[in-house]
């Protein structure tokens, strides 16, 4: 398969890091943010994608960012509800093949799954990683002081 076309909504900590990471791996990346200043987080060396200033809840902005040819869209703004709304529009209106939404509140994941949106919850991912590290530490004899 050709390199995926990835649309990232929100250029905050997660959005910008992901954009830098994917762009460095030669993915085609477009980042949307309401606030142009947010693009300062993009790395001059690794990011070679496109930036679109605009409100991603407007279909015209999503079109301008090339949503119709994107393989994956991930929403990573600071608002859970906006993330879910844009994800739903991407999935149901534009039929984007893969849609993910960042979710802050782990208790919300169920709603997203009910609506057919994949999620990434940094809190859950971090908790799992923490448990892995703990199991390793305990397994290597570090436990029970």
């Amino acid at each position: 398969m050709r390199t995926p076309y990835v649309l990232i909504v929100g250029c905050g900590r997660l959005g910008s890091h992901l954009a830098n990471l994917l762009s460095a791996q030669a993915h085609r990346v477009v980042v949307i943010d309401r606030n142009e200043a947010a693009f300062a987080r993009l790395s001059a060396e690794s990011f070679s994608g496109f930036r679109v200033v605009g409100d991603a809840s407007e279909p015209a902005v999503l079109r301008k960012a090339g949503i119709e040819k994107s393989d994956l869209l991930i929403t990573a703004t600071h608002e859970d509800n906006l993330n879910l709304m844009v994800a739903l529009v991407a999935k149901r209106v534009f039929a984007v093949p893969h849609v993910m939404a960042r979710v802050y509140d782990p208790a919300r994941e169920r709603l997203y799954h009910d609506l057919g949106v994949e999620t990434v919850c940094p809190t859950l991912v971090a908790a799992e990683h923490f448990f892995d590290l703990l199991s390793r530490a305990a397994g290597s004899g570090g436990g029970a002081k």
Binding site: S57, N81, L84, M85, L88, R92, V93, L111, D114
Partner: protein, 219 residues
């Protein structure tokens, strides 16, 4: 009917009072703590303090037994998710969102959520009143896509005595009923309209203006 209204400020207060006056059981969900205690003092509705897009808060407000959820916050995304939660998690029979940005009405419809745009509704009402004082009973239907209005044909009506077919009416506008004196008739293409007739006009929103123009001015 048991209604849950989600929103803020005086608009929510007046909405609550309107529902209460019609004897509906009303629960309000308000995000701001100070405001929720203000509303609890002001109105006799039950007030739940919290984020209405959170399923636990909706549950506390009694979503399981609610007949209606009206999401009327200032944030369209919040309103959309409130309705999705109400429908998906609690099977509330009717969940309606207010959209602040009129363009979101079409998006919400595509996502299966009923939406009302207050600004669009007010604008179209005012527009009709401003252009034509002979129009009464303006009723939006079909999610605002259809307007039903009653028009009295005045002196400026240019097609008096001529068959409806000659009006050059837009395709998606229809004169449903003609009321003349005590008589009420369902018109056909050859029915001749007269000044003083009251007609019931049904039209899609985009053709409503042109149809009205033909009936009131003839231009």
């Amino acid at each position: 009917m048991k209604a849950i209204l989600v929103g803020a400020g005086r608009p929510l207060y007046f909405l609550a009072q309107t529902f209460r006056r019609k004897d509906h059981a009303v629960t309000l969900i308000v995000r701001d703590a100070a405001e929720s205690s203000w509303l609890a003092n002001q109105s006799d509705a039950t007030v739940v303090h919290g984020d209405g897009s959170n399923d636990r808060v909706l549950e506390d407000a009694g979503a399981r037994s609610a007949d209606l959820v009206l999401a009327a916050t200032a944030n369209d995304a919040d309103n959309l998710i409130i309705c999705q939660q109400a429908r998906a998690r609690f099977a509330v029979p009717r969940a309606v969102a207010l959209v602040n940005d009129p363009d979101n009405q079409a998006i919400f419809a595509a996502l299966g959520v009923d939406a009302i745009s207050p600004s669009m509704t007010v604008a179209s009402l005012v527009e009709q009143w401003a252009t034509c004082d002979r129009v009464t009973h303006l009723v939006p239907a079909g999610n605002g896509k259809v307007t039903i209005s009653e028009v009295t044909l005045g002196d400026s009506f240019a097609f008096a005595g001529r068959p409806i077919a000659e009006l050059g009416f837009p395709r998606d506008a229809l004169i449903a009923v003609v009321m003349r004196d005590a008589e009420t008739l369902v018109p056909r293409g050859d029915t001749k309209l007269q000044r003083g007739d009251r007609v019931l006009l049904v039209a899609l929103a985009e053709s409503h203006g042109l149809a009205l123009q033909l009936l009131t001015g003839g231009g």
